[in-house]
């Protein structure tokens, strides 16, 4: 038999977990918004700061709302695997396409025509 007091105490903890998660998420959102609207740093740095805050918020929500780590361990494993795939897809795409952009930018339109004829089918 379960003891009712224990159950209640467990529930209290979960209420607090949701409230803490909510407050932290709102704070992180407002912080990122404030930084961008007021141009606190130069653009390059601001991009990394905003991405950093987004990742922090991902962790906050994953812990307090999605309860990763509680329940099945497979949940955590599939989550990490999904993150791995996502990083490969996103970072890989940006890397390759920027590199392509950089290589093509050096050419004039005529040179580009010649280049594309030479490398047809690649």
């Amino acid at each position: 038999m379960k003891k009712p007091q224990l159950e209640t105490r467990h529930d209290e903890a979960r209420y607090i977990s949701y409230i803490v998660g909510f407050v932290l998420s709102v704070a992180a959102t407002l912080l990122a918004y404030f930084f961008v609207v007021n141009h606190v740093w130069p653009k390059e740095m601001l991009i990394y700061v905003v991405l950093g805050i987004a990742v922090v918020q991902l962790i906050i929500q994953a812990v307090f709302f999605l309860h990763i780590g509680r329940g099945s361990q497979l949940k955590f494993v599939t989550f990490v695997f999904a993150i791995l795939i996502i990083l490969i897809v996103v970072v890989g795409s940006i890397w390759i396409m920027n590199n392509l952009d950089y290589t093509m930018m050096q050419m004039s339109p005529d040179q580009m025509q010649v280049y594309m004829h030479q490398n047809e089918g690649i």
Binding site: V36, V50, F81
Partner: protein, 194 residues
């Protein structure tokens, strides 16, 4: 007693199955994010994100969705404790906030299209509409699911199967909130920089 244990085991498997679906959905969104990141600057002489996005409006959308995710969590806690009225109340709040979010998003879309900045305008806007529209579609389906569930919960007086579905719905809703955080950060905050 044995039946209860078996049911809990089945529910755990269903939760894991649903979780794996969510992760594949996350990969779908990741490919759309990658597309957006690559096409971000390709405006074809048209307006860029900086010209189009209304920041306070987007912040309002974000806050509404965050609160909606929070109230969905409160509904789950209520249902765990067996507080029926509380659960229904928070589910209604979640629905109202979700519907408000969707309305705001559609307002933004129709405004962009009526100004001539629809998805045909440039590669940037195509990727923008695809990414944000896919999220909006998920929200719309989530609202439909939520509406059906509220009716079922009231009609069938909190049957255990409906409570199990409610837990899966909350997972879905929190997941959409996480995706929106990245849309807010990457599309609007970073994409809207001058």
């Amino acid at each position: 007693m044995k039946n209860v244990i078996e049911e809990a085991a089945v529910q755990q498997k269903k939760t894991l199955g649903f979780w794996i679906y969510l992760m594949t959905d996350l990969v779908l969104f990741a490919s759309l994010f990658a597309t957006f990141a690559v096409l971000r600057g390709q405006t074809f002489g048209g307006p860029s994100g900086h010209d189009l996005f209304n920041m306070p409006f987007v912040l309002l959308e974000t806050m509404i969705l965050l609160t909606s995710s929070f109230t969905a969590g409160l509904a789950i806690l209520g249902s765990n404790r067996g507080y029926k009225k509380q659960t229904i109340f928070w589910l209604f709040v979640t629905f109202a906030l979700g519907a408000a979010f969707l309305t705001l998003e559609l307002t933004e879309f129709s405004h962009l299209v009526s100004e001539g900045d629809g998805w045909q305008r440039s590669a940037f806007l195509s990727s923008f509409f695809t990414l944000v529209g896919t999220h909006g579609l998920h929200i719309a389906i989530g609202l439909l699911w939520l509406a059906v569930m509220i009716i079922r919960l009231i009609r069938f007086k909190f049957k255990q199967t409906d409570l199990n579905r409610l837990a899966l719905f909350a997972l879905f809703w929190h997941f959409l909130d996480v995706v929106w955080i990245f849309i807010f950060s990457i599309v609007y905050l970073i994409g809207g920089m001058a």
